[in-house]
């Protein structure tokens, strides 16, 4: 029921997103353009400018939401999110380095490729350090260290940027956006997102069992080491590849599972699918919101999700504090 509602919201927002923009279109015009009839400019606007944007919003939101829910279930810590593992930060670093060295101008593929390489390296470090007989604390500490390191190197690149335009390119990319993306970008990240999601969804029964704690979950047949590997890899593939295309989009992975947890009866497994849909709804809504002011300059998507996310998070903390008092 909840998932049906979320899916319905997703479809409605997608249609809205296809209609909104510099040239607002009616529903009929959008549908006509989608099936390849109607005036040529409409077809270009809908199919080549707005549709990739909608699809990317879906992919980013689904990746962030599912990965956030999986990590919170694995670590049994409501503060966990994809950014925590250092995968997003490392992907960002890869992208920033191509901008810093001016490589992004050489080929449009270099920036996302470098970002994915960054995510991959971070995953390897996580995997090696948390492989044998380690626990969740090692995973969190490794993630924090990777995030700090990648953040520091990103700042260094900004710091030493040869000219102000490079610095501005870097900053704008870091803010996160899905505007001006094409289907080339979609095809680039789609396979990784799909494989990553498959790995995450594979973990659903084990995540449910983990509500009993690690010892009892193991006694029910859950292989904790394998579960950790699957979730790190699934998060890295899905989130790393979308960050490579869109830049950092914060707070979605943290906030969405929290919003939906009560509605799924706190069960970590069903939360995964709901959070995937919810993440897409949130990103799509935020992406429509950034286009609303219509003042010529859009605020960046990553900024808007954080602007929605941070106050929400504070109220969450306040409510938790009130419950404890």
């Amino acid at each position: 029921m909840l998932n049906h509602l979320l899916f319905l919201a997703l479809l409605l927002l997608s249609v809205l997103s296809l209609r909104f923009g510099e040239a607002p279109l009616s529903l009929a015009e959008v549908l006509a353009a989608l099936i390849g009839s109607g005036p040529e400019p409409h077809q270009v606007i809908v199919r080549e400018i707005r549709l990739p944007r909608v699809v990317l919003a879906w992919l980013v939101g689904i990746a962030l939401g599912a990965s956030g829910a999986a990590l919170q279930g694995l670590l049994r810590n409501p503060l966990a999110e994809p950014g925590l593992l250092g995968i997003s930060a490392s992907a960002s670093l890869g992208a920033v380095l191509t901008l810093y060295f001016g490589l992004a101008l050489v080929s449009p593929w270099l920036l996302p490729a470098a970002a994915m390489l960054g995510a991959l390296l971070a995953t390897l470090v996580l995997h090696v350090l948390t492989r044998a007989g380690s626990n969740n604390l090692t995973l969190i500490l490794t993630g924090v260290a990777l995030t700090s390191l990648a953040g520091a190197l990103t700042s260094l690149a900004l710091n030493l940027a040869p000219n102000p335009t490079d610095a501005q390119d870097i900053i704008l990319w870091l803010l996160g956006s899905i505007s001006d993306r094409s289907f080339d970008d979609v095809w680039l990240c789609l396979p990784f997102v799909l494989i990553g999601l498959a790995l995450l969804f594979w973990c659903i029964p084990a995540l449910d069992a983990l509500a009993l704690g690690e010892a009892e979950a193991s006694s029910l047949g859950v292989d904790l080491g394998r579960l950790r590997t699957l979730i790190i890899l699934g998060s890295a593939l899905s989130v790393g590849s979308t960050v490579a295309i869109t830049g950092t989009i914060g707070f979605v992975g943290l906030v969405v599972p929290h919003l939906l947890r009560r509605a799924v009866g706190f069960r970590p497994g069903p939360l995964l699918l709901a959070s995937a849909l919810g993440g897409a709804v949130l990103v799509l809504a935020a992406d429509i919101a950034v286009r609303l002011p219509n003042s010529g300059r859009e605020p960046m998507l990553g900024v808007v999700t954080a602007l929605i996310g941070a106050p929400f998070f504070l109220t969450l903390v306040l409510r938790a504090r009130r419950d404890m008092l």
Binding site: P205, A211, S219
Partner: protein
């Protein structure tokens, strides 16, 4: 008939020997109490039997080496109830108990809502056996300690395993809840399950268990009938206490009495 057989089981961790050459047997339908002072290795032995930690030596389940079972087979045969009674998310009691059916669950495409008839039956039976049927809609974080203990036991019963390992299931419970939990274990044993229960309460152990295994320093000090294991000599050796024995309706029970041998 011997269901579980341990021979020369040794557990080492960080260069220390926690369990040393333990051998014992548990029959089908038998409720065995595992007793011993703090740090004797009771929980370690239970975890080794549950295949949660590495060990040396042999364990056989109905003649078949336990380590040869696949994870899923093992999970269906052995139910384990840990000492840690926290539930990580405030899921409902019904959902919590349903987790006992995890070893029978398919992949993610089969949602938790669509449980098979056999699963449903096992879950309901477990809820009734532990008398928590009326709590099934409650969130697990709203339960009292006694309610939570019975709900967690129901989760373990829902596995319908032949072997139930319970690590201090009555710790921190009031006398009524202690009696209730022990009665449930007793009933399950009568239905044919082999049960090993870690206990600190010698009175409950002597009252409810068919046999006792007394551990001290990772070794078996005494094993067998309750009278033999709770002899003055072995109680003095393992716990450094004396106990008095009473009898009620032909059933003997022991009450710890003094920190010196009781004369």
């Amino acid at each position: 008939m011997t269901a579980l057989e341990l021979s020369d089981v040794t557990v080492q961790r960080g260069g220390r020997t926690l369990i040393e050459a333990v051998s014992c047997q548990v029959s089908a339908g038998e409720l065995v109490g595992l007793i011993g002072p703090n740090g004797a290795g009771k929980s370690t032995l239970i975890q080794a039997i549950a295949q949660l930690i590495p060990y040396h030596g042999a364990m056989r389940w109905h003649g078949k080496p336990l380590e040869q079972l696949t994870a899923r087979e093992r999970a269906r045969q052995i139910a384990y109830l840990s000492q840690d009674d926290r539930v990580q998310w405030p899921i409902s009691v019904a959902d919590l108990v349903a987790l006992g059916r995890h070893p029978y669950r398919g992949g993610w495409w089969r949602g938790a809502g669509q449980t098979r008839a056999a699963d449903q039956q096992a879950i309901e039976a477990a809820l009734h056996a532990t008398d928590v049927w009326t709590l099934r809609e409650r969130a697990s974080d709203t339960l009292s300690g006694g309610e939570r203990a019975r709900v967690r036991l129901a989760r373990a019963l829902a596995v319908e395993a032949g072997l139930l390992l319970a690590d201090e299931p009555v710790a921190a419970l009031d006398p009524r809840h202690q009696l209730e939990v022990m009665t449930v274990l007793r009933t399950q044993a009568q239905r044919g399950a082999s049960i090993i229960v870690v206990l600190h309460d010698l009175t409950l152990a002597s009252r409810f268990c068919d046999r006792l295994v007394l551990l001290n320093g990772g070794r078996v000090v005494a094993t067998g009938a309750v009278e033999r294991v709770l002899s003055a000599a072995s109680l003095q050796q393992a716990y450094g206490i004396g106990a008095v024995m009473g009898e009620h309706h032909g059933q003997r029970y022991w009450v710890p009495w003094s920190v010196a041998p009781y004369v």
